[in-house]
């Protein structure tokens, strides 16, 4: 976490393989991704990263099912396999009854759940969430955070970017950034106390 301008988004872009670092190396599961070309990065993003954005970033013309299915289209799974996995992911976020709806027909919280389902569906190494509750009211935000908590308990690695302390409280490890540098890197003792 950190205030605006602290380098959160840049770090996220690098972790998410959307950008390559201008110096140093980034090893993702032992692979140096900092020297990869655009298409190799695309494949890494497809296989190992699941994005959840502040502004949801769903494809407006496609329905819920198709939005969730999309990463698997690019990884080349057969349509029957895609159907099984997409339905499974949608069920995890509790939107089975909204499968055929367009994003514009859903509430903010529901849209973010769709985005989470899309992030989950390729079973990535990291789920990368950039201020996922930033555009939601606090009760919906709490709802979304509970979805993240469940996923975390189920064994998913989640990197969440925020500037709100109560959101950061959900995490096991909190890295604070300031002016592009790591200010602190702490374990959240609350979780370990329990």
């Amino acid at each position: 976490m950190g205030p605006s301008g602290s380098g959160k988004s840049t770090l996220m872009n690098i972790i998410g393989c959307l950008d390559t670092p201008s110096g140093g190396a980034y090893l993702l599961e032992g692979e140096d991704v900092s020297k990869m070309n655009d298409d190799q990065l695309a494949e890494i993003r497809n296989q190992k990263i699941g994005f959840v954005f502040q502004t949801f970033n769903l494809i407006p013309r496609a329905d819920v099912f198709h939005n969730v299915e999309l990463p698997m289209v690019y990884s080349g799974l057969s349509s029957s396999r895609r159907r099984i996995l997409a339905e499974e992911a949608i069920e995890k976020v509790g939107l089975t009854d909204r499968m055929k709806h367009k994003p514009s027909e859903l509430s903010g919280g529901q849209r973010q759940r769709v985005a989470i389902a899309r992030a989950l569906v390729n079973n990535p190494s990291i789920i990368l969430a950039d201020e996922p509750t930033g555009n939601l009211d606090s009760s919906t935000g709490a709802e979304i955070m509970s979805v993240f908590d469940q996923l975390h308990q189920a064994g998913n690695t989640i990197i969440l970017i925020t500037h709100e302390n109560d959101i950061a409280d959900h995490a096991n490890r909190v890295i604070k950034l300031k002016d592009g540098l790591v200010e602190s890197d702490d374990f959240n003792h609350k979780h370990y106390a329990a």
């Binding site: 993003r45 970033n57 990463p71 289209v73 990884s75």
Partner: protein
């Protein structure tokens, strides 16, 4: 396998994009529709014209040579032939004697005369003096009555066989057989009516239905035999043998005309091919010009598609960012937009084909025998997809090169 899924995805995206912007899509395709209609109509009309021409000269026969004083089609000045000796009936008789492989030899000579039956007069009708061999070398047989026989030729009988148009114009509903008509100042008995042969008239060629055939000897008796020019029509053993046959004819003719080995031929060999290749030369140029003009409209249509694809890429910058973030490669984005532009053009092409079919039906009904051939359909489809690919490639390439971070931030 992987790209197959991407192509399927691209197809559904393209379908969705076209569906989402119906009016815009319609306006964009309009350019392609007009272009395809123009191209297809030009090609079918040219085809129809060619078929009509082929049909009209098929009377001549593909295995027949016309030995004449001058060629039918030539370049340069007509005066280059003015010193040539006329072909005589004697030449014809000699050729018939020596050219043993010929299936038939038929000398002809022509005269222009007026026709009269009761009070109806037809001016300037081609009178052909010919022999009984005429029907062996040329297409067409008498529809009613009979043709000229050797007896008519031998005894210079004043009988005639009239063409279909002559019957229609001169006799209307009356049965012409055994009626007397006047050719020039002479009375002739109508013994036959030829079937309808068609006309090469609209190319300035002869109208085969506006002719009257009389025995060659009778024509010479009535309208003068001196200083008369003849055509000698010879039929080859087969169409395949025509090439060799032509050499034999030239050889015999050179002997008959007593030409020295260094002399040029003082006669010409004419055949259906001569006309066909002359036609093809002229029409080739016309079709080329037509296609250049019509492809300008396709080009303009393609520019319209390119324009709309740029709009589409800009509009969907964010979508491109999302797709890239979740793992779409450059190629996937490229394919997606190429598919979209080709789909727009393909739809335009198909609509254009349907409309061109309508136009062709109208042409067929009122002007020419025209029909859209499967080859033209395939060419039109290939052209429209190609226009789509060409006009989509720059916008699609630009989309594929977008930086995902900037694209995601785009408002």
């Amino acid at each position: 396998m992987k790209s197959l899924h991407e192509i399927k995805e691209s197809f559904s995206i393209a379908y969705g994009a076209v569906k989402a912007n119906k009016v815009r899509g319609m306006l964009t395709t309009l350019g392609i529709i007009i272009g395809i209609v123009a191209v297809v109509t030009t090609m079918t009309a040219a085809n129809g014209l060619g078929n009509r021409f082929k049909e009209s000269i098929s009377v001549i026969g593909s295995d027949v040579l016309y030995v004449s004083r001058t060629p039918w089609v030539f370049s340069g000045n007509f005066f280059q032939f003015r010193n040539r000796q006329q072909l005589t009936l004697k030449d014809g008789e000699k050729l018939e004697r020596h050219l043993t492989e010929a299936k038939a030899v038929n000398p002809r000579t022509y005269s222009n005369q007026s026709l009269k039956y009761r009070s109806t007069v037809l001016e300037n009708v081609t009178i052909i003096g010919t022999t009984e061999n005429h029907v062996l070398v040329s297409a067409g047989a008498p529809q009613f009555g009979r043709f000229i026989i050797d007896n008519d030729v031998q005894f210079k009988k004043q009988v005639c066989v009239i063409g279909w148009d002559i019957k229609e114009q001169l006799f209307k509903d009356v049965d012409p057989i055994n009626k007397k008509i006047k050719i020039g100042r002479y009375h002739f008995l109508v013994v036959g009516v030829m079937e309808k042969l068609g006309s090469a008239g609209f190319f300035g060629g002869p109208n085969f239905d506006r002719q009257v055939m009389v025995p060659i000897s009778t024509l010479m008796k009535c309208f003068g035999g001196r200083n008369r020019n003849f055509d000698i029509v010879v039929k080859a053993p087969s169409t395949e043998a025509l090439y060799d046959f032509e050499f034999s004819v030239i050889g015999e003719m050179r002997k008959i005309r007593k030409l020295a080995p260094t002399d040029e031929n003082d006669f010409s060999i004419n055949k259906m091919d001569t006309l066909m290749s002359a036609y093809n030369r002229v029409m080739g140029v016309v079709i080329l010009i037509g296609l250049v003009i019509t492809s300008i409209s396709l080009f303009v249509g393609g520019i319209g598609v390119m324009n709309i694809m740029f709009v589409s890429v800009t509009e969907r910058t964010r979508e491109i960012g999302i797709r890239k973030a979740i793992g779409a490669k450059k190629r996937s984005i490229l394919i997606q937009f190429l598919f979209e532009s080709s789909s727009i053009c393909l739809i335009g092409g198909l609509i254009g084909l349907v409309m061109a079919y309508g136009v062709t039906q109208i042409i067929d009904a009122f002007l020419l025998p025209a029909s859209i051939s499967p080859a033209i359909v395939i060419v039109a489809i290939i052209i429209s997809v190609m226009v789509g690919v060409v006009s989509g490639i720059i916008p699609a390439y630009r989309a594929s090169k977008l930086n995902p971070i900037e694209a995601l931030r785009y408002e």
